[in-house]
Symmetry: C2
Subunit: 222 residues, 2 copies
Amino acid sequence: MTRTRFHQNLDDLKEKLLVMAGMAEQAIQRAMEAYRVGDLSICDLVVRSEPAINRMERDIDQRALDLLAMEQPMAIDLRFILAVIKINADLERVGDQAVNIAERVRDMHNLPPVELPVDIPRLATMAATMVRHALQAFIDADPAMAEKVLLMDDEVDEMNRAVYGALARSIETMPQHSQSALNVLLIARNLERVGDHATNIAEDVIFWVRGADVRHHLHTAS
Amino acid sequence: MTRTRFHQNLDDLKEKLLVMAGMAEQAIQRAMEAYRVGDLSICDLVVRSEPAINRMERDIDQRALDLLAMEQPMAIDLRFILAVIKINADLERVGDQAVNIAERVRDMHNLPPVELPVDIPRLATMAATMVRHALQAFIDADPAMAEKVLLMDDEVDEMNRAVYGALARSIETMPQHSQSALNVLLIARNLERVGDHATNIAEDVIFWVRGADVRHHLHTAS
């Protein structure tokens, strides 16, 4: 395999990962749409999209492994392939979070409607923006953009603490709606985990481009 | 580097990963001990152990990367190094879950004590056993043992659903203790995530040894 052919393969791998990213992002968007309008058919759509995301994950891992095995990549190419493998796993888990949210929305469908004092769509927008920026950093090989994602994670954690406090108070004042409040609490946690995955992706981009391991320096993400 | 020297390096990498595993397992055990006896000094110990776990993760990743870069490993050695990189990330996140649990225990310390109808220590034992078996499968290169871990994950998920239902009912009947119930709910989720990480480790062992990608066949883990 010539050097050029190898780099064509790396480009194809990047392209595939971006398709995977699109699938994961769509799953989260749909889960939030299902939450917003309480639509069970959208929940089904999210749950049914999971096998395709899982297949895509396997396909990307196999290609990455083949590239690692076929020739001895240079340091930066090696780090790129490893970044793809790690980002791929995080995207699959973003898809899992979408499924978890869809299941919570299904659960809430049988409960009496209630207005809770938390802005879940705002939290969702924040988490989705983190994923988008992390992927943009990956597309542009832009560690400065990736660093912005790391800073956003603290904001999401802060919003989540506020959501938690507000829901705990709601449960005390409206115990008859505690099941709905618990579901919303778990959705907030799922969105926080989406933010964590975006943070992981951002760290992988920085490591790929800069080579130095910045993890846990600026920030300790889960 | 001779072939033998290379394999000595692989053995050293495995050894390091087992030290990392010991640190992560200890963090979970301590977090559960803090929960059981309500001891804030143990919570501090768990939180303070996180930087050491993070340093160890970086060290292992760097060694794995050096081994990938230095020579062209055979297929099974390549899969072993990739498994180490992935298992390493999962162990670091097990440590994060221990920190999350310790933070919940701190929160509960200021709340009035209450007996809730859920057996968190049992769930913790189950999750810790999954991690232990997944690591044993890694030590012995034993995919049959790893498959047992995948089956245990369904049991943990089932236990978690029961915990969720019991806590939702407690909140309705004892709204004055809803904050404690919420903390316990989040601890149960953290333990479920520990089980998920054990599942990931088990899948990485199977992939390393067998080469075929079994993920999402037996089971879809998050």
